[in-house]
């Protein structure tokens, strides 16, 4: 479903190119659960952002569901992205001014889903995540684990094929983190959602079906289970 060919990302510093991503090629099939690991500054998040089309590579070819992303205009990319990708962040990034319900609903609004349909979909999602009772609360009134749950619910509401998670458990304690990872596994196994996560934790990485280790912008090792 995803194919990166010789992707590089660099910044011009003086006369030198400072590589963040250095010639990475990577293929991800539908249904995979990939964990990306590596020390700080190894380019994990940048790679994830490029996959998520939030960032442009400097060079290289990027195919997503067999379409050449590197040739697309902003608008097409945005349409593709809206249809297929959901994002989960370390810092949750919920909108403080919106309630749980409204936060989950927002992506549907941007996809022009009708009001009645939205209602059904959000209700369904609240039910599935057991947060019906919290739907009228604001993010500030929730614990970190609950906020991340809402963040995941929001990422999944539009039924994405690919879920991108940037250190989803980084701000959580170990028990909360475990719950989130269990949820990811279930989504991957039962719903067939392809997941790519960036993580620092060996333990969380092992939930995946493949672990990719990055170092200084290159793939150092890659192993499948």
């Amino acid at each position: 479903m995803l194919s990166l060919q010789h992707i590089s990302k660099y910044y011009q510093v003086g006369g030198n190119k400072n590589f963040v991503i250095n010639d990475i090629s990577l293929d991800v099939d539908e249904g995979e659960f990939v964990s990306i690991m590596g020390p700080s500054g190894s380019g994990k998040s940048t790679l994830l952002n490029i996959i998520g089309m939030l960032d442009d590579p400097s060079t290289g070819y990027h195919y997503f569901v067999d379409q050449p992303v590197h040739q697309m205009k902003e608008k097409q990319r945005s349409a593709l992205y809206k249809q297929y990708i959901g994002f989960v962040f370390q810092a949750y990034h919920l909108i403080d001014e919106l309630t749980v319900y409204e936060n989950i609903e927002t992506p549907l609004i941007y996809q022009d889903v009708k009001g009645s349909e939205r209602k059904a979909m959000v209700a369904d999602m609240l039910d599935r995540f057991n947060i019906v009772g919290k739907k009228d609360l604001f993010p500030a009134q929730l614990s970190g684990g609950q906020q991340q749950l809402v963040g995941i619910a929001r990422a999944l509401i539009a039924k994405p094929k690919l879920l991108l998670a940037d250190e989803p458990t980084g701000n959580l304690n170990s028990k909360q983190g475990e719950e989130i990872m269990e949820l990811f596994r279930k989504l991957n196994k039962e719903d067939g959602v392809t997941i790519i996560q960036v993580t620092h934790s060996e333990k969380n990485a092992e939930y995946g079906s493949r672990i990719i280790n990055l170092l200084d912008g290159r793939v150092e090792s890659s192993k499948k289970f």
Binding site: S45, N49, G52, L54, D55, K75, S78, Y81, K82, F87, F89, H93, L94, I95, D96, E97, L98, E102, E105, T106, P107, I109, Y110, Q111, R154, A158
Partner: protein, 801 residues
């Protein structure tokens, strides 16, 4: 979708109470001022336009150029002949009306039964008055109301004053004791925005002057109604051709008399000839219009500044929304909606403020102003227009700016993605302060000029002088009345004169003089006075001696009167003499002959906008309009009581009224004072708005630099150095504003001062003071934020996550 926008916008508004308040307060004040000023301007522009035939009505003004004086003398009055003659002889003229300002020349004491009032606004006009002008009749008929020589039309409130609830039609009013006039019509009270204001209009035919058609002695305000087909300029040309042949044999070589026709609707704002009421000034209309727009822009700039300054806080939301699939267009509309909501709230607040401010503003501007001044369609259009303009003006840039954020930049780093836009924000603050400093300087200069005019040594001692209107007092009672009140120790002198000495208006000419040609003619202002006038008014003579009993006796004779004239320095110079040479020279003044007895030091006898012109004063005991009573200022109430008692003895059936000469003098530059106070008010408003903007920027900037401040503190910076660091950034901006603003203000105020013949020099300290004030105000605004930042604990700001 729009619901979602509105919801977010509303919650945002509530959550950030401080910034919301600043934005809304700034905008509301801006909108309020804009509405007030717009109302004032509308009132100025609708002046006299309520007459249905307004576009066809013109006023005749008369110009006179004498070969011996290089300025043209323009007056808004004509002799009695032009209106009837032009009506008969010129096909372009449909109708015409002569108006006499009756109460300006006489006390106009009107009596009905036991009710007795001194009326201040009585006109006498030809029967065509109500056919030409559209005053609304409550009862009576516009066509025939002034048909009879004893008819009089009164306004509704005048009717109530005399007759209460009774029907006024057919009632007889006794005017000045002798004339019985019958009320034939009642009109609605005359609007403030009419140059012709009256409480009563009597028939012109009641005056003896109506019987004679004269081409000299101009006293009538003459208005013509032109035919729809007529061209004003062409008619004017025809009139002047007529005048040329008429005066052909009467004028000296080089002398010229011609008329101009002023369109009724442009008189109030453009005419310099004076008239039934002092004119407004188109310049002020422009200035206030510009001020209105600037205030609105300032408020919008404020809003714009605050929104972009808050972008750091909004950036996360923007990033998240983009990641969730929002397009730039959608975000743009979200932010425009937010701007719209703030504008709407501000607009409502502004309209409410304005309606509360109208009474005070009406006092301020001397016009009855409120939302009724607007026509309702205009008002709705204006408010809708304001809504869209302010929303777009204030909302477009921030919306474009915010919606362009790149999500990856925002979400990755915890700090702001909003490093850009700083220059813009700074420029906007500079702009705001340019305007503020400009206003501060202008207000200071205008204040100085006004103070200068009030304190100017005008060459006479106005203090503690009371003015009594004695035009209608039997002339023979004047002397006994003066003697009676002179008994009072509080009164140090009393002298009668034709006009008030601060407003001498008599138009005369010196038409013979020793050593001049026989056709010599110098237009002068002149007024009869009593012989103790110079002494009582504290004036100075530069040559000759003051008038004495002998001079008085000379002019009290019934025939062969020999006048003793006093000329001012300007008149002597215009004659081409030196003061000492002039003494004893023979001159003739409109048929009066005599010698120059003294030369008076120039004193201001009319508005300070005008230079002192040639003036002649001379004793003549025929009629006096004003009695000037000099008091010692102690126990004024008792003095007034004594005067009032004597007044009723010598002048029964007339209410006792007085005013102070000082007050009358100040009345003459009331328009300027009004401008001064309007300027003052708006200076406060601009300072307020600018400070809001600066405050917002300071909040933002200290927040942005919290890390830097933390690091500096860890490195050992003390509180003062950090306060200095932050404040100096802003003070630099204000300093730039002062530097840009000063020459602009200097230029504008120099132009304003050109209007005054007596004006101050703009001194450098004004700029220094204004700059100092601006910097001080800015420092107070920013200081609090700086201290707060400087006192904060660096451990907090440096904690990484």
């Amino acid at each position: 979708m729009i619901k979602n926008y509105l919801k977010t916008a509303w919650r945002n508004l509530l959550q950030n109470k401080a910034t919301s308040f600043i934005s809304i307060a700034g905008l509301a004040v801006g909108i309020c001022c804009f509405l007030l000023l717009a109302t004032y301007l509308i009132n100025e522009l609708r002046y006299d336009r309520f007459h249905q035939k307004a576009d066809r009505i013109v006023r005749i003004i008369q110009n006179h150029k004498s070969p011996d004086y290089n300025e043209v003398n323009t007056i808004a009055v004509t002799p009695t002949a032009p209106v009837p003659v032009f009506k008969q002889q010129l096909t372009d003229v449909e109708d015409g009306v002569r108006i006499i300002d009756y109460s300006d020349m006489r006390p106009a004491i009107v009596q009905f039964g036991d009710k007795l009032f001194k009326e201040k606004n009585v006109l006498m006009a030809d029967g065509s008055f109500f056919k030409i002008f559209s005053f609304k009749f409550i009862s009576g008929d516009a066509g025939s109301a002034l048909g009879n020589s004893s008819s009089i039309v009164i306004t509704a409130s005048t009717a109530t004053k005399y007759f209460g609830a009774d029907n006024p039609i057919g009632k007889i009013l006794k005017v000045d004791g002798t004339n019985n006039m019958m009320v034939t019509g009642v009109v609605e009270d005359v609007a403030e925005y009419s140059q012709i204001k009256f409480d009563m209009v009597g028939s012109y035919a009641m005056m003896p002057r109506s019987l004679i058609r004269k081409w000299d002695s101009a006293n009538d305000y003459s208005y013509l109604l032109l035919k729809p087909s007529a061209d004003r300029v062409a008619t004017e040309r025809k009139i002047n051709t007529y005048l040329d042949s008429l005066y052909k044999n009467d004028l000296a070589a080089g002398e010229k008399i011609w008329y101009n026709l002023e369109p009724l609707t442009s008189i109030h704002l453009y005419s310099t000839a004076g008239g039934l009421e002092p004119s407004g000034n188109i310049k002020y209309v422009y200035i206030l219009g510009i001020v209105a727009v600037i205030l609105l822009v300032l408020a919008c700039v404020n809003f714009l500044n605050l929104v972009t300054a808050r972008s750091a806080e909004r950036s996360k939301e923007i990033g998240v929304r983009k990641v969730m699939g929002a397009q730039r267009k959608q975000l743009f509309f979200q932010f425009i909606t937010e701007a719209g909501i703030i504008t709407l709230v501000s607009l409502i607040a502004g309209v409410v403020f304005a309606s509360f401010c109208f009474p005070a503003f009406s006092d301020f501007s001397g016009q009855a102003l409120n939302f009724n001044t607007w026509n309702i369609t205009w008002l709705v259009t204006a408010i809708l227009g304001l809504f869209f303009i302010v929303t777009l003006l204030a909302g477009t840039y921030p919306s474009l700016y915010l919606s362009a954020f790149k999500p990856v930049v925002i979400l990755k780093t915890k700090s702001t993605g909003a490093a850009g836009g700083n220059t813009l924000r700074k420029s906007l603050v500079v702009f705001q302060f340019i305007v503020s400093v400009f206003f501060i300087i202008s207000t200071l200069i205008a204040g100085n000029q006004l103070k200068y005019m009030q304190n100017l040594n005008t060459g006479m001692d106005r203090s503690q002088v009371m003015v009594l209107d004695i035009g209608g007092m039997p002339f023979n009672n004047l002397e006994p009345f003066k003697n009676a009140i002179a008994q009072n120790p509080g009164i140090t002198g009393a002298t009668a004169s034709y006009n008030s000495p601060v407003n001498v208006r008599g138009g005369y000419s010196i038409n013979s003089a020793d050593g001049k040609n026989s056709d010599f003619n110098l237009p002068v202002t002149a007024a009869p006075i009593e012989r103790n006038f110079i002494k009582t008014m504290g004036m100075t003579l530069v040559a000759g001696r003051d008038l004495d009993l002998g001079d008085e006796q000379q002019v009290r004779k019934d025939s062969l009167r020999q006048y003793s004239f006093i000329l001012n320095e300007t008149a002597i110079a215009a004659m081409g003499w030196k003061p000492e040479q002039a003494i004893g020279k023979h001159i003739g003044l409109n048929g009066r002959t005599g010698t120059i007895k003294a030369v008076a030091k120039d004193f201001n006898f009319s508005s300070l906008h005008q230079k002192i012109e040639p003036l002649v004063i001379f004793p003549e005991y025929d009629w006096f309009g004003k009695l000037l009573v000099k008091t010692n200022g102690k126990n004024t109430a008792a003095t007034i009581a004594v005067m009032e008692a004597q007044w009723h003895k010598f002048y029964p059936n007339s209410p006792f009224e007085y005013h102070f000469l000082d007050h009358e003098f100040e009345e003459m530059f009331k328009t300027d004072q009004r401008t001064g106070s309007i300027l003052q008010a708006f200076t406060l408003v601009t300072i307020f708005i600018s400070c809001l903007g600066l405050f917002g920027l300071a909040v933002f900037s200290t927040r942005q630099r919290v890390k830097e401040i933390g690091i500096r503190k860890v490195l050992g910076a003390n509180v003062m150095s950090i306060v200095g660091l932050i404040s100096s950034d802003f003070l630099k901006l204000v300093l730039i504003a002062v530097i840009i603003s000063s020459p602009l203000a200097w230029y504008a105020m120099s132009a304003w001062l050109q209007d005054f013949a007596y004006r101050i020099d703009i001194s450098w300290w004004v700029f220094l003071l204004a700059g100092g004030m601006a910097i001080l105000i800015a420092f107070v605004t920013v200081g609090y934020q700086s201290f707060k930042a400087a006192l904060s604990n660096p451990v907090k700001s440096l904690r990484s996550e």
